[in-house]
Symmetry: C2
Subunit: 352 residues, 2 copies
């Protein structure tokens, strides 16, 4: 029997979600078993299908059940038949907020052998970790509309930033930066325009930074940072930023690191009060669903991020090594979703 058993909630979701999740679990289990770690999984049907059938995005009873797990593993949700925003806010963002996923962790790493859209950029040039705040800022949902539909209509949208919320994510980012070889942290904001929030972020970074003299601290306006992601990506190590800026720059990050098909993410509650959730950054890609064409690599990498969060750091490294080896020799050969999963699982196994 495994020394430790983790209760994992699985949300396969829509489109290619179930296909990639199956491969993610396959690789996860091989890696975990090497460390006397086992997963018991319960599957939850959430997403477009549930919404069409019941009009619900996340029944309270399901949310309570999810809360009883140690972690959540999600494929992808969404379908063109569901209005924009319904599943995003009713399911994905609701989980981030209700489960206090204040760290949205997104590694941006160009694996050797993967083609970046950037000319002359190699694996050594792109290796960063974006720590995006996940529970406040412009995502608070605050705002309103006056005189809707008239020429005098006003719509507001409020970003809410707290000392509590900023400090905890900044602390997380400094700890990550201190543990990486380059020990560099860049705050990305727009403090010359968003003065109230920007000053708070700057002050907190300065204060927490005083506890990490070994970490060098840099600041970039979000517009400049977005440019540097494209023409000087090597400039960044750990990046800490607010919810909306993080949303934007991690998509640029995914693009420069070979595409959203390889981008992993963790929605993390570092305190362990609630289960953290791990998911590929890509969507449900309904156009290729059910055809075994989806690349499960981002989901497999999200499983590694999950293992690391659960303390199984070596198991996580093995998965990353397997992915790195696979990407290096991938070329243009076409493999099915499950074939890629099998190959990755085999590469994990052979590291014994």
């Amino acid at each position: 029997m495994a020394a430790r058993t983790v209760k994992l909630a699985v949300i396969p979701g829509d489109g290619i979600g179930p296909e990639v999740v199956a491969e993610g679990l396959k690789v996860l289990e091989v890696a975990a078993s090497q460390y006397d770690l086992a997963f018991t999984t319960s599957e939850y049907e959430l997403g477009a299908k549930l919404w069409h059938r019941t009009g619900e995005t996340l029944p309270d009873s399901v949310e309570s059940e999810l809360a009883e797990h140690e972690a959540i593993f999600l494929g992808a949700v969404g379908d063109p038949s569901v209005p924009s925003g319904v599943l995003e806010r009713g399911l994905l963002l609701r989980l981030r907020f209700d489960f206090d996923h204040y760290v949205n962790l997104r590694p941006v790493r160009l694996f050797p052998g993967v083609e970046s859209p950037l000319a002359g950029v190699g694996a050594d040039d792109i290796d960063m970790l974006v720590v995006r705040e996940g529970t406040e800022g412009p995502y608070a949902g605050a705002g309103g509309v006056l005189r809707k539909g008239t020429p005098h209509e006003v719509a507001t949208q409020d970003s809410v930033n707290t000392r509590f919320g900023v400090e905890r994510v900044v602390r997380f980012a400094f700890a990550k930066a201190a543990a990486r070889p380059r020990r560099k942290l860049t705050l990305v904001h727009k403090d010359n325009v968003l003065t109230f929030a920007g000053e708070l972020w700057q002050r907190v970074v300065k204060e927490v930074g005083a506890e990490y003299p070994e970490v060098s601290v840099d600041y970039c306006h979000v517009d400049a940072a977005s440019m540097f992601f494209v023409n000087q990506p090597g400039r960044f190590d750990v990046v800490v930023t607010d919810n909306l800026f993080g949303d934007i720059i991690t998509d640029i990050g995914a693009a420069i690191a070979g595409g959203i098909g390889l981008a992993a993410s963790g929605n993390i509650n570092p305190d362990g009060t609630f289960p953290s959730m791990f998911e590929p950054v890509h969507g449900s890609a309904p156009d290729i669903a059910g055809q075994g064409k989806a690349d499960p690599t981002a989901t497999v990498l999200s499983a590694a991020t999950m293992l690391e969060h659960l303390g199984a750091v070596e198991a996580a490294r093995k998965i990353e090594n397997a992915v790195a080896a696979d990407l290096k020799t991938r070329g243009h050969a076409v493999r099915s979703t499950s074939q890629i999963g099998d190959d990755l699982a085999a590469r994990v196994a052979e590291q014994g």
Copy 2:
């Protein structure tokens, strides 16, 4: 005597500002003279030097004088000795707001011969026009701080969006799209999260779009758009977006089109109630100031944007042709700032 004389206010600014402005004016005058257009210029000393001497960023009397001109031509302002935000808000943004520059126009075009950081991308792949709203949204300056410096601090930042403000910039963008060969307009927003503002933008684009059946309309979330700028830039023709999203994506645009050294911009009040202002997107680059090393091309292109705004469309085209021809044959030869200006002026002249 010229058939028409334009009163132009010139703000050379700091760092490389005066150098590039001199070349911009040189080329501008050659192009204008071919069309019986002349400029009378008055120079204003605004920027870091004035601020250090007087503590002022834009004296009211100077603003009143600026208002008496038909257009403003600005080099760059800013210096590391001035705290972040002071000149941005006290001068640049104040002019945008007080002079109601509701269109912030930023062409994103890869000229033949210019190297993009994107692999395998050529001039045909990047030719867009970003129409950024310039007078509202998150730039309103609204927000505040509660319990500053305590663990209970809250900082808010409010985006203010009006039907009036959104509609006029959307109308401008549709008119531009209708006049371009591809006739495509993409709205960039984040309506699945910023629901109040996003719904207003979507609704206005739909309503105004009904008057432009020949323009095809697309929508992209800002995160996806940022990614597509990098891996599918050909997807965009005219882009319309809010003030902050526009700030970010135009810097990505500058990056993919060969760098901020080539990016022009116009802060436009299409109604003509106030003078519009034209400036390169780059900053004052104090590290290379006074050495004749700055590339004046972005400033020269901003002069073209100004001519177009003033109705001298053919003169604008000649400058763009001159720049295109120069960039095509530029290679790695090093020329001084004034040399590049001379060459561009000669290329304009020879189109006679």
